[in-house]
Amino acid sequence: MTVVEFLTDPWHLPFMRRAFAVAVITGLVCGVVGVYVVLRGMAFIGEAVSHSAFPGVALAYAVQGNLLLGGALAGLTTSLLIALVSQNRRLKEDTVIGVFFSCAFGLGIVLVSTQDSWSTDLSSFLFGQVLAVGPEDVWTAAAAGAVLVAVVLLLSKELVAVSLDRETARAAGLPVLRLDLVLYTVVTATIVLSLEAVGNVLVLSLLITPAAAARMLTERLWATTLLASAFGGAGALAGLYVSYAYDLAAGGSIVSVLTALFVLTWCLAPRHGLLTRARRHRRRGPREPYAPPGPGPGPGPTKGTALSG
């Protein structure tokens, strides 16, 4: 098989075309939204929201309703409860999250236990079903993704001000609580949107990992956002190719590719990566008593000559 064949082969299959479309849309949107999740330290709430969608899906399954809608409602309810309850400064947010998300997941398990048997519907919710999406799913994902990205970009000035300094933002008269609720809602909707691509268990990877990799490479918000989105889209695409070529689970393949990307940036990032830090450390040498930490631009990543200095 030539490279061209490898690249074009899956596109002959309609279900693969749809899978590519949904996975890439999901990756792009998750990259944009994930930047805020990473920068605000909201990884745990992402985990919580994705798991708390579970009882909604189980309930929707029991009453034969729309699984995605059920998941969205349950996830949204939980994340809004977390946002409200954690306004009380006596409790840290992660504590409140821990209370609500384990409660929601437990509720989901209770609901599932009332059913006679597990079905493929439920397992596809847990592990994704990107190879089984219909044409209408592609359009739904595209429209929802466009709305989510638009909301984040239109509110980015306010979201940045709140992320930088909540107290001063509130003192300036910004509606901090309402902005939090919007962000939580966007995160929840993004997670529900991603359920088809990678499923409930792996969705956090799509949200966090591209943004984390992008954060290793840049000190600008717009660059972080662009890179995270590109990583998310490219990772989803490459993951599906791997899945197709070796007949592996699609969601798991996407997550593996994204994680490999993160490990690469973590090691090779020009300024903050493992290699650069090691090189800097070696060049400073044990005998030199002091070397300025040097906030200026770091050494280029490919200049191997500095190694011996």
Partner: protein
């Protein structure tokens, strides 16, 4: 004495935090051209007074007027310089972006910063001597530079009243001198400044007036009030609470 409308009037303010009265019967006035230093030991309620003025804690009694308006309607008149740990220094933003974020409210929803906003941010940067570092990520700044970023962010919205929470804590001597000089010039331009500090020397050097706070205003007067701080503080039982090095 300046007889114009005071920029800030704190009248009989009482704040209860977690069932405990943090400050009570607190009255303060700041007029244009004044730099009022709010002094007291840890736990005296200095930051609480600032937070009350900013509307960040509810008042259990009294009221706050800013430029003659109820504080809730005068947010745009106030610039706030919080303590440095309030700011997310690991966020991917450069110095000029951080300063521009001080104009978020005045730029308004769904709009991007315009030329006037950028010019205001640039002017604020120049005032704190950071224009050279405008493209530097905030995470790479020293403590003194970070303090100057926070001051510039507050100045970017051109407020009439500036509230500063411990601006001299943990900054190097050149930054102290620069800020000292800057605060003096801001006051000379007719702005009002209210600054909390537990650094008596800095207060004596910088402030046009000082108020000693211990749950309420214990004494108020010119910086001469601090001429004999040991005696001053002993008078209300604080001599062991802070290190007095008069």
């Amino acid at each position: 004495m300046n007889t114009a409308e005071p920029l800030l009037q704190v009248r009989d303010v009482r704040v209860v935090l977690g069932g405990r009265t943090a400050v009570q019967d607190t009255c303060l006035t700041v007029r244009g051209g004044e730099l009022l230093g709010l002094l007291g030991p840890n736990g005296a309620g200095k930051t609480t007074v600032l937070r009350a003025v900013l509307g960040l804690v509810p008042l259990a009694g009294g009221d706050v007027l800013i430029g003659g308006l109820p504080a809730g309607r005068a947010r745009h008149l106030v610039g706030y310089v919080p303590q440095r740990h309030e700011f997310a220094w690991d966020f991917p933003v450069d110095v000029s972006g951080a300063v521009l974020s001080g104009r978020t409210r005045s730029i308004g929803w769904l709009r991007r910063a315009g030329a006037a906003d950028r010019a205001a941010a640039e002017e604020a940067l120049e005032r704190v001597g950071l224009a050279e570092l405008r493209r530097r990520p905030v995470g790479e700044l020293s403590g003194g530079q970070r303090q100057r970023v926070l001051v510039a962010r507050a100045l970017a919205s051109d407020p009439g009243l500036l509230l500063l929470d411990e601006p001299f804590t943990g900054v190097d001597v050149p930054t102290q001198e620069l800020l000292n000089d800057l605060f003096g010039r801001l006051a000379a331009e007719g702005k009002g400044l209210l600054m909390t500090t537990h650094d008596l020397a800095a207060a004596a050097r910088t402030c046009t007036r000082v108020a000693l706070l211990n749950r309420t205003v214990v004494a108020e007067g010119g910086p001469g009030l601090l001429a004999d701080p040991a005696q001053m503080l002993r008078a209300f039982g604080l001599d062991t609470a802070i290190g007095v090095t008069a």
